[in-house]
Amino acid sequence: MDHQEEQHPKGAEHEHSHPEKQPKQPAEKRPFHKHIGHHARRIHRNVTKYLYERDTIFATLWVFIFIFILGSIPLNLGTLNPIKLAMKDFDMNDLSYAKLGKGSDSGIDTNIVVINIGEAKRDTIALMIEKTASYQPKVMALDVLFDGPRDPLSDSLLSKAFKENPNLVGAAQYILDTGTHELSFSRNYFKDHVHNYGFVNFPADDKESIRNFFPVKKMEHSDSILPSFTASILKHYKPEAYEEMEHHGDHMTMINYTRRATQYLILEGDQLLADEVDGSILKGKIALLAYVNLNPYNIEDKKFTPMNDKFYGKSWPDMNGIFVHANIISMALEDNYVKKLPLWATILIAVLIGWLHMSFFIHYYLENHIWFHLVAKIGQVASAIFFVWLGLYLFDRYRLKVDLKLSLVVIIMAVDVIYFYEAWAVWMHKRFNYRTVFKPHHH
């Protein structure tokens, strides 16, 4: 192929094609703002010159066809792909907690007081409930599952504590009956004595980060619902917040983590029983009685959360379950729910980003092919850095979760698809006289 022709297929439009038409002006004499304007115009031309060409639009379309085809292969090709396996539980927003200091300036949530029950047995837990109740919190919640009877004396003490405190929320686990497909509560031996309870399960397995929760679970054949632990607490503490949470219904709702364990007030149960606590801190508040251990090497009841200091690869669980509940409560009280961009908007953004990049890449592919790969790689890296920042910024500033993974995949694939598209367009040109900016040549 004639290289000159490849570089200037639309010679009349190219600035260097007619140097005599432009008055020669020494660069050092050009004012600074004109320098900037000149480069801005050049970049604008690089991006938009081929923007409305049918080749750009069809090449972008081919990128999505490839993504669709690769995604539709019924084989799990990621099994042997360590990167895919490592990224399975990866969310770009985790970076903002681990490395960018998100949440560190959130302050203490004074609506919530966590009481550490430690390794206390049932009778001691009963005493802690009574002591907490004496300080008149608006609602108490006990994040403990009781699997069966134990010592009768301890059981009766705890049963009495449950009965006598109508503002106490108990924990249970919802299970789906495989026969009847009915949901029911389980693993709370004192279920019949508790005035209120909610389920504490999260829709994630033990090895995954807890990112979502179900506010309520709806029964299949009736209008009745099973409330989550946090929904039950909010029902007593702030009914408006409960209604808002119930409004999210039986759908996975993203948790907006704002605080680590040390950003909640933690009282030791032993200190509470020994009167070493100023009870006024509990009055009118939410008292969460649960197991707390801030030792990072103790992983009992610890969950992986997006607030983990290590946001990729192998790590240790970082947060006791009660602080996951506390973060949900904080989110509901502050009305800080995360808004998720719908799928159609995510695809639309990917299409727009892919289209712009394709136009830019085709410009270099045709007119400055010698620089194409270098510019394309730099462009991919720069775009990745920019779009990751954009996603983090929107999440931090507007609580808007934008999944830009598809956009990044489109940018990465665009370069390879150009080669395929060129061959396809030339073949179409020969066969059907398809009009294209690509000319037959051999690389």
Binding site: K99, L100, G107, L265, S280, I385
Partner: protein
């Protein structure tokens, strides 16, 4: 009319200057009391305090406070503190995700990969075995017992640390009271001269000393005998008399130094080794012994 905005601005500034910080007692350890309105009471977790309050912290105590429901800070040095003095600790730095992101990307892109093994502390700290009662401080067994009389030169008690600790807590107890130290100090160097606390000790008594990384515990204790001058002089005379025959001055000093070290009179041993090396500067043994003695006991 133009004066009104200026007045409003001044009023706002005056209001901001007078705004008082509120504190919440988050946690405490040891003996901590709070003074409010001239009434002293025991600290309680969850207690709200104003800037006019004062906290009193006994030795070994620690208190964590939250200022304006945002900034958390800990005080661990014994003393009396007016909370109004903690105004600086109430400032919360706001995080800019964008600025932090730029810093993070730049740091990641400009970081060069280290070969494993080039940084021993970073790569070789993972051991394939359990540990039993190992703490982060190592004290040379030669310092198990030190006899100090005050006659000789000053002498340091030294240790080594397995961690990158900045501060160490030195405590010395009377042998009959291991609960309250007669002297404690936080030091940044890995040694402390005996003269720093000799005034707190009584001649003729034995003491136990320990050192730990600040915030940690170390149950290992070493003995420091503050011997009377008479006892030390008697021991010295006994050593001096154990001569087998004629000795040159350097020889005698070297023998004295060796025997004083063996008798745990380390300050005196140092003096005699120095004398020996000075008396016969050409003797390699005297010089090397003095140098290794100084190295072993961190004498500069």
């Amino acid at each position: 009319m133009k004066k009104i905005p200026v007045l409003l601005l001044l009023c706002s500034l005056a209001f901001a200057a007078n705004a008082q910080n509120n504190f919440l007692l988050y946690s405490f350890k040891g003996n901590v009391t709070v003074v409010e309105n001239n009434v002293e009471s025991k600290a309680k977790v969850g207690r709200s305090l104003t800037a006019a309050s004062t906290i009193k912290l006994a030795a070994g105590g620690m208190v964590t406070l939250i200022c304006n429901e945002a900034a958390m800070f800990t005080v661990s040095k014994a003393g009396t503190y007016a909370l109004k003095a903690f105004g600086d600790s109430c400032k919360v730095s706001s995080n800019s995700i964008t600025a932090n992101y730029v810093k993070y990307v730049w740091a990641s892109m400009t970081k060069t990969g280290d070969a494993p093994g080039s940084n021993r502390k970073a790569y070789m700290n993972t051991v394939g075995a359990v540990s039993r009662s190992i703490n982060n401080i190592w004290i040379d067994p030669r310092l198990d017992t030190v006899n100090f009389s005050g006659i000789g030169a000053d002498f340091p008690l030294s240790w080594k640390s397995y961690t990158e600790a900045k501060d160490f807590e030195f405590k010395i107890f009377s042998i009959d009271n291991l609960t309250t130290p007669v002297f404690s100090s936080v030091v940044s160097k890995m040694k402390i001269p005996i003269s720093n606390f000799a005034s707190k000790l009584s001649p003729g008594k034995s003491y136990l000393w320990t050192v730990s990384v600040r915030g940690e515990e170390n149950e290992e204790m070493k003995v420091l005998n503050y011997v009377t001058r008479e006892t030390a002089a008697a021991f010295l005379a006994n050593v001096k008399n154990q001569t087998a025959g004629f000795e040159a001055a350097a020889e005698e000093s070297y023998r004295m130094g060796f025997m004083m070290e063996d008798g745990h009179y380390l300050p005196e041993a140092w003096q005699y080794y120095t004398k020996a090396a000075a008396a016969d500067a050409s003797n390699v043994l005297y010089r090397s012994t003095l140098m290794s003695f100084k190295k072993d006991y961190e004498i500069k």
